[in-house]
């Protein structure tokens, strides 16, 4: 399997969409090299707005561009996109259901070196709580391209969460991408594992490990936390003895809570793999942080064994 980068895939997808749709415009707050929005600047400089390091103005300004019929993509790190400009997203954009795409780059612990101030672990909870908002968290570069295309087509605000680091290609090429539609990455018998964002990679690793122990994981990637196709999620439970949810995000307000609520009457044992209400910190690698906060294949294996009493 080859590795690719979501940011790079995003930047290239934007350029392609920019060629197809002259109304697409891109805004950046001085992180264009990192978010890869700079690729759009190189292709379509007249439709690229360098807004300075002023995320709040950038976000409302994007709302204004959409009032003129444009389809703005707003770029900065996830922690600033969803945090610094929260009120602008809520008030200027979401209440009017304006057609603005907010792209949160370097989400979760993927900006491992920069520490807590740069690690968004609550961005999906904040964005998901806003009415009219769609929240997408692709698992790899391939899905990122599909998510960007879908976001550009959807008429309304979208929050797109991207990882900073290279990821293996795992998104199946033969399944059409649809917002909110869960995707089975690996068929299994015993435990339904629901992941979002990059946690699909850890779940697939765990499934391989557990296969040798006679435990079969059914790995289902949820392409974002909102909207959630609830009947489709429930269908994946059929015949399973237990459920595990996995997200590189706070336990509060993310996928785990949504699935817990959805399964409230199902009587099925459940475990969650998530950030347990703490901030991150600096570390030498993304993997190191994922291990430290229990967001890895090893943790998923432990929880699976416990659920099955093994």
């Amino acid at each position: 399997m080859s590795k690719h980068n979501q940011r790079e895939a995003y930047g290239k997808a934007l350029v392609q969409l920019g060629g197809e749709n002259p109304d697409i415009v891109v805004l950046e707050a001085d992180l264009g090299n990192s978010t890869r929005s700079i690729l759009f600047q190189q292709a379509y400089p007249e439709r690229y707005f360098e807004m300075g390091i002023a995320e709040q103005n950038m976000t409302s300004f994007a709302g204004g561009l959409s009032l003129a019929g444009k389809v703005p993509f707003v770029n900065t790190f996830a922690v600033f996109a969803a945090g610094r400009a929260y009120d602008q997203i809520r008030q200027s954009i979401a209440t009017a259901k304006l057609n603005v795409k907010i792209v949160g780059s370097s989400a979760g612990f993927s900006d491992f070196g920069d520490g807590a101030t740069h690690q968004a672990i609550e961005d999906m909870a904040i964005m998901g709580a806003i009415p009219n908002m769609t929240v997408l968290a692709p698992c790899d570069a391939l899905e990122t391209v599909e998510a960007v295309k879908a976001a550009a087509t959807l008429d309304g605000p979208v929050y797109l969460r991207l990882c900073r680091n290279d990821l293996e290609d795992i998104f199946p090429k033969n399944i059409p991408y649809q917002i909110g539609e869960p995707i089975v990455l690996r068929e299994g018998e015993d435990i339904a594992v629901f992941t979002t964002g990059i946690m699909a990679h850890e779940a697939l690793k765990a499934a391989k490990t557990l296969e040798e122990e006679g435990i079969s994981l059914h790995v289902v990637h949820v392409p974002g936390i909102k909207p959630l196709d609830e009947p489709a999620v429930l269908r994946q439970l059929s015949g399973k003895k237990a459920v595990i949810t996995c997200e590189e995000h706070s336990i509060r307000g993310g996928l785990s809570m949504l699935i817990s609520y959805l399964l409230r009457n199902e009587g099925v044992p459940m475990e969650c793999v998530a950030v347990m209400d703490v901030f991150g910190q600096s570390a030498g690698s993304h993997e190191e942080l994922m291990g430290f906060y229990g967001l890895d294949a090893g943790t998923i294996c432990q929880k699976a064994r416990r659920l099955l009493g093994k």
Partner: protein, 277 residues
């Protein structure tokens, strides 16, 4: 005196009457900051702006956004007077399921251009809109009204910098300098001066007027059209509660309640010939 000035003054008086009607008796309403804007809004909707009530989304229309969204009443009054919707709607202000919300909602009210109310965001919205119109070579103008108390919001200054950076000469920022905010005199609550010097330093072309002098309002709006390469700001010195003597310069009527007697007095004063003077 400019042609049509008397007519516009009459329109402003009508807007004030409609504002008082909307505030009504015993209900809280943003009377003061709506009345301070009545002359400017009358000049825009009944003279200056290119717009069509029969075609509220006409692409080449000039736009007015109230960053100080709590002054929605004056815009509702003007939109109704223009015929964007039935004047009967005004009675439903802030009632459950009403198309007229406490703050402007473009999805509920014809003629409203953006959702504002969280202070400090309107100039950014207006600037983005102006930038988008420029991309399409659309010659429409964007007017945005900010309150003086609102100038404490940092995002306003981000937006002004961006407007200058992108040479948005189709953007005109109108400051409603009525000198009062919710809890008292703006200058005593929080120092925002020197405003003119700040606007100039940020790179805007600045005009300073009496915001109740129709001639000065129209002149400034015309002069703003002549500026190219940069956005304009009109500092309009106004009186909060203008036209209703007991509410003039009274912070209590920022979001005040009228008694039956006050309501009657206000309507009487506005109905009297030359009631504004």
């Amino acid at each position: 005196m400019r042609e049509g000035q008397i007519v516009l003054q009459e329109k402003a008086r009508q807007l004030r009457k409609d504002i008082v009607e909307m505030v009504g008796v015993g209900k809280a309403g943003h009377l003061g900051g709506s009345c301070s804007l009545a002359d400017i809004v009358a000049a825009l909707y009944f003279s200056k702006m290119r717009h069509d009530p029969q075609n509220p989304r006409m692409p080449e229309r000039d736009r007015l956004l109230l960053s100080k969204g709590h002054a929605a009443l004056v815009q509702y009054a003007a939109l109704a007077e223009c015929g964007y919707f039935d004047k009967k709607w005004l009675k439903s202000l802030k009632q459950l399921q009403s198309p007229l919300q406490g703050h402007p909602d473009m999805r509920k009210t014809p003629g409203i251009e953006a959702n504002t109310g969280s202070l400090g965001q309107g100039v950014s919205l207006a600037a983005g809109l102006a930038a988008g119109l420029k991309l399409d070579n659309n010659s429409a103008k964007v007017y945005v009204v900010v309150g003086d108390g609102e100038l404490a919001e940092g995002q306003i200054w981000e937006a002004l910098m961006a407007s200058v950076n992108f040479h948005l000469d189709n953007l005109c920022v109108i400051l409603d300098r009525n000198g009062l905010q919710a809890t008292g005199k703006t200058d005593e609550r929080f120092c925002i001066e020197p405003i003119r010097e700040k606007f100039l330093a940020f790179g805007l072309e600045v005009f300073e007027i009496d915001g109740h002098d129709m001639g000065q309002i129209l002149d400034a709006l015309d002069k703003a059209d002549q500026v190219s390469g940069k956005p304009t700001a009109i500092i309009a010195h106004t009186v909060k509660g203008k036209g209703i003597p007991f509410a003039e310069n009274a912070a209590a009527f920022h979001n005040g309640t009228l008694t039956e007697e006050q309501f009657t007095t206000a309507m009487k004063m506005l109905e009297e010939e030359g009631g504004l003077e």
